[in-house]
Amino acid sequence: MKAAELPTIVSTFRDIKDRAESHWRELRDNSKAVIMVGTATCGRAAGAMEVLKALRDEVKKRNLDCPVIEVGCMGHCYSEPNVTITKPGYPPICYAHVNPVIAERLIKEFILGDDPCLEFVLAAAEENDLVPSFSDFPRAQYEKKVVLKNCGQIDPQQIEHYIAHGGYAALSKALQMRPEDIIDEVKRSGLRGRGGAGFPTGQKWETCRYAAGRSKYIICNGDEGDPGAFMDRAIIESDPHSVLEGMIIAGYAVGARYGYIYVRAEYPLAVHRAEIALRQAQKLNLLGKNILGSDFSFDIKTFQGSGAFVCGEETALIESLEGKPGLPYNRPPYPATRGLNGKPTVINNVKTLASICHIIENGAEWFASIGTDGSKGTAVFALAGKVVNTGLAEVPMGTTLRQVIFDVGSGIPNGKRFKAVQIGGPSGGCLPESALDLPIDFDSLTDAGAMMGSGGMIVLDEDDCMVEIARYFLEFTQRESCGKCTFCRLGTKQMLEVLDEITKGKGRIEDIDMLMELAQDIKAGSLCGLGKTAPNPVLTTLRHFRDEYEAHILEGRCPALMCADLITYYIIPEKCERSCDACVGTCTVEAISPNKQRIKVIDQEKCVKCGTCLTACPPQYNAVIKVSPPSEVPAPKKGKTRK
């Protein structure tokens, strides 16, 4: 940047910041209460919009001076809908599982009265003497929020909130630096791409900066194709400006003029909020021509991905941006030298870009002080499956799987036993108990056959069948294979057929060797990461849970009682209560009827094995069980019940 422009950047940004801060102060001026409702997708699925409406109606009805604003996802998805109330004289208090009735009570009893309704409290956001705070949770000891810092704290639809929380200061600082120095800073920070492969970001930017060609592009990869992950969605929905800011800085560093945010069309709310953010940034001249009075101009557009997993792969993503089917092509040339429209292009994951502003603000040394030798910074995980605290978690690289699952996630619900954790999505693998003390970083999990991936983490318990999960992922990759490489297209199909047979109890013991062989061939014969990693779920389950495969094959038994063809539902006559009809009424196919003694019996011909009766049977009887193999079920004796 030319020296003459520096004062303009500084003063232009100072004006913007002053205005944003006074906007925020007006909201939080300590004279009135403020209500924040988490309305990211996870909140909405739990009914947050109804809660928002109830709160707003109540506030309006009573003519209260009490702003009700929308915020993003705090990461405590297990307790949605979340509402946080900041009232003068109290710490900010976060409530869990709020519904419209509770919402009304909060207004009546807390906002109007003095009763903070402790029965609905999740925790306070600050330490205090009244209610336990988030920092008292065991997970607080392990969490370190960098990328998720603003999520759930600000209204993602108001750029002023972001700026008042320190946003765009990094951009203003970056514009006063030389592009080379920014790249140097990112290189020294040790930041590696969060999209899965862990490629050093600074190096990617440098390649792009020095690649021949005048027009260059920045693409934010928000495709998030892993069918069990939602970190990127949550970040775009909750703090879109942090991603934009990273993109603009990247654009300045490599000398790009245009950027694209590629978001899946299945994430309509993320698309919507990204578009609002873009408009607001343009209005303040944080995007567009001569940003903040500098001579750097940059524009960003959104692009909706149309639901193909392979389009998360960078070359396929570029093809789809160009309006073609998303078929990956061979690298090199890498996109950094020849990407979109044949021009040098930086593609980075959402979390990679969201880390940038923190690196510029706090310096490379600060970032490099977090994490392990080879992997710096934090890792963001989407915890789902059989874990108590489902939601988002951000921990320093190097935290162990055990800490994430048992301390941050609070372990397995319903007293069940942990069996495995699936990490890295369709490209990753299932790791058993013995791998739980591995530190999580880009390199450590590879030895165990999995990979960190982009952050999906599905916890599996004793009720989950390892053959079935392998089959599930293979079915997914097989369907999503674009069909370009023969091994990926046909090899995965053949593996899937074998696994199908095994889960139906029709497998042969030789099949295990065949799966291993096919896996090697597919890995060797595929061009992109989809095929190269597709066999991982099968290989890891074979390695760590071979006994389950053998039980299916040799005994026709599914140890986890999951595979429909290998189980039967059975009502234990001795336990069935004559006067109870719970299962009869709920059976979705009317397959259950009482016999002469009013003991309930399942008609196996009609049964579709949906498990509704098992849930319906009251816990004091617990008469419905699953049996595997089905042949273990005692044959019904005519007229009499078995004693």
Binding site: A45, A308, F309, G323, P325, T588
Partner: protein, 181 residues
Amino acid sequence: MALNKDKRMAEEQAEFKQQTKQILKRFGRKRSNLIPILQKVQGKLGYLPREAMLEIAEFLNMPDIDVYSVVTFYNQFRLNPPGKHSIRVCLGTACHMKGGYITLDAWKRRLEIEPSETTPDREFDLDTVACVGCCTMAPVTVVDNKPQGKVEPTKVDGLLLGFELERKKQKPGGQLPTDEA
């Protein structure tokens, strides 16, 4: 009768053409606009009828088959008309492991259609999606674009009952014969 039907179809096709043209006005003739165009047209018409695809191919000056290949490559695009209500069963990892496939079975059983089909009365269409990002509420079904959490077979029946009641409310006196007999 048959004549009437032909006439109606011709009218419908003309209408599709017209609306597609309307949407195309907002776009430049660049191939990179293909996917955004398809998304807008599907957003308007509910699916991508043949006439619309032909119109788009002509506009972008590309072979019809290339438009078709893009439409069939991406999961988002549909070639048959949607129902009044859209049912999307999530089969992402978390939902699958918590019984999403059982939920799908329940929808299939009740609606008597397979995924990517529409009921003959055009009330419902059924499809699957991979993770809509609320795994924490698994198993999820997205009903009319709203993710519903913990949809198990009994909730499927509950949701269907809700639609049934709504329909009765709109048409007092129960079901009226439709002209689509």
